[in-house]
């Protein structure tokens, strides 16, 4: 109970901080517009309404992923600039419990990005979005957000040790668009890329969202997505203490 409250309170205050940043807010307005535009052009080159839905949802999840991957590193960097990273480390809870709400808040902002992309697509380009299983659709989005937050958490753990690691977030942004099958089906990718796609929760989250929209069965994809998310959290928890010890040994916590 106490752990859940700690996660909830952490999530709440980090959401508050994100929502009060005009710069990040501006990005959240611009990104969906960009992604919806991409979806529109992909659709124009495609053939039929199924391609439209495919591209539109892909673009929406692109926005979600971008919000998570680029901001998770930025969040740790901000903690360093504000001098709060050391204060967080100096608190008694396992550091994973301090960090996880930060990245979950980032992923939650991604929901806005997803919704905004779909709305821009609809109102600016006339892309129709029909969802066959609304409940499963929402469930898939929530599951994907949790998995994104978990992946962001695994990244953020390394950002504690390596202060320039925020750049990795940017580095991972575009490849995952491709490898995760957001806009291009994975079957079109080279064989050697596919195992990478399979270990990425975004791939399965994307599948689950699409399947629930077109009336398919998203449960298996959603289960794999959540399972991978749980695995990322586990890996993150296991390496947190080791990473923190390395940061304490190398005096990396106070660097900004």
């Amino acid at each position: 109970m106490r752990i859940l409250r700690l996660l909830g309170v952490g999530w709440l205050y980090h959401m508050k901080m994100i929502s009060r940043s005009p710069f990040e807010g501006f990005g959240q307005v611009i990104w969906p517009l960009f992604f919806a535009t991409v979806a529109f052009f992909v659709f124009r080159a495609g053939d039929g309404p199924r391609g439209l839905l495919y591209a539109s949802l892909g673009a929406a999840v692109m926005g979600m992923w971008s919000a998570t991957s680029t901001t998770a590193g930025g969040a740790m960097q901000r903690e360093r600039w504000h001098g709060t990273l050391e204060l967080l480390v100096a608190t008694p809870p396992h550091f994973a419990l301090v960090l996880l709400p930060v990245t979950l808040a980032m992923a939650t902002v991604g929901i806005y990005s997803l919704g905004a992309t779909l709305l821009y697509g609809h109102f600016l380009f006339g892309i129709e979005l029909s969802v066959e299983h609304p409940v499963m659709f929402v469930g898939s989005i929530v599951g994907t957000v949790l998995a994104f937050g978990a992946l962001g958490f695994a990244f953020a753990v390394t950002f504690v040790r390596f202060r320039a690691a925020w750049a990795l977030g940017n580095l991972f942004e575009y490849p995952v668009w491709l490898i995760g099958g957001f806009l291009v089906p994975i079957v079109l990718l080279p064989d050697w890329v596919r195992p990478i796609s399979w270990v990425l929760a975004p791939t399965w989250g994307m599948n689950a969202i699409r399947e629930s929209a077109v009336g398919g069965s998203p449960l298996n994809d959603l289960a794999v997505c959540l399972g991978l998310g749980a695995l990322y959290v586990l890996i993150g928890i296991l390496i947190t203490n080791r990473v923190l010890d390395a940061a304490r040994r190398r005096a990396a916590l106070s660097l900004s």
Partner: protein, 322 residues
């Protein structure tokens, strides 16, 4: 049993120079520091910038792992039992960092109350009590970005006290505050000591250590060069004299030559607006004014005075000793 124990603590930092041919350079920030702080004691770690105060405090609060030596807080090892140490200590540092600017003062405290495991039903009352203590009542719902430096500093103090820790580590808490704000903060620290908290305070203000601390350790270049009560430290320079000269254009070599004069204990030079003030501490009875002026050829010399040594002179003598 001592509440805080440091035994031969050492900390080395590694830095790199060069781009293609990278060379590792080791800097010994703390070189074998030992001290003990008894329950309820207010212990001052006094030293100039870069002396190793913050590095020492960060080892004690578990943010840095010592390169060698060991330290315990309330019997818990700061490396092996970091979590147990963190539950029992409060940490406050000076300056404007360490605050979530986009959150209100209240939200900052609420978040850290959760992190420190303050029971939910006690949080509201505890936060209100601390806001009252640090004089932020009425401003707590404003965003911290609008707070003055002094208000942020008081918010730091409140944060450090949320879980009512028996041991407090205060790292230069009054740095950058205006005189009134610094005085109010010193009064708060004094009240905490009166309430029975064990406190380690680092500062480079001699008068602050003098007015607050039960005992002081002077740290310089990573080593403790003197330890004792403020009265004990003062007595180290009581039998001596100080010559002060207003000058302009004194070179570093001149200071070195003055240090070599027989009867000179310490020499320091301070920049003051358009001029410099050369302070030379001498042995009792050593009539060195003429000799000192004789070494200042080439420099413009203003007012010359001789006075009794103060506690600050004791400090300067300790931290300028080779």
């Amino acid at each position: 049993m001592a509440v805080v124990e440091a035994h031969d603590l050492k900390r080395t930092y590694r830095t790199h120079t060069g781009t293609i041919r990278r060379r590792v350079k080791e800097i010994e920030a703390v070189r074998g520091v030992s001290f003990e702080i008894a329950k309820g004691e207010l212990f001052g770690l006094l030293g100039p910038n870069g002396a190793g105060k913050t590095t020492t405090i960060k080892m004690l609060i578990t943010l840095l792992i010592p390169t060698a030596g060991e330290a315990r807080v309330l019997g818990y090892d700061v490396v092996k039992d970091a979590r147990e140490v963190r539950k029992r200590i409060g940490y406050v540092f000076g300056g404007e960092r360490g605050v979530y600017e986009r959150l209100s003062g209240y939200d900052n405290l609420r978040y850290f109350a959760e992190l420190y495991g303050v029971p939910a039903r006690e949080q509201k009352g505890r936060i209100e009590e601390l806001l009252q203590l640090v004089g932020l009542t009425g401003r707590e719902h404003e965003r911290a970005e609008g707070y003055s430096r002094g208000m942020k500093q008081r918010l730091h103090i409140a944060r450090g006290l949320l879980h009512d820790p028996p041991v407090m580590f205060l790292d230069e808490p009054t740095i950058g505050l205006d005189p009134v704000g610094a005085r109010e903060l010193r009064a708060t620290i004094s009240a905490l000591a009166d309430a029975g908290k064990t406190i380690l305070l680092t500062t480079h203000y001699m008068f602050e250590a003098d007015s607050l601390c039960d005992r002081i350790a002077v740290i310089n270049r990573g080593q403790i060069v003197a330890e004792g009560t403020p009265a004990h430290l003062k007595s180290r320079v009581a039998a001596g004299s100080v010559v002060e000269v207003e000058v302009f254009g004194v070179a570093e070599e001149t200071v070195t030559r003055l240090k070599e004069l027989r009867g000179v204990r310490a020499v320091s030079i301070e920049e003051r607006e358009q001029a410099q003030v050369l302070t030379v501490q001498t042995d009792t009875g050593a009539q060195l004014t003429h000799a000192i002026l004789g070494h200042l050829d080439g420099a413009n010399v203003g007012r010359v005075s001789q006075r009794e040594p103060t506690l600050e002179d004791a400090y300067v003598a300790l931290v300028t000793e080779e």
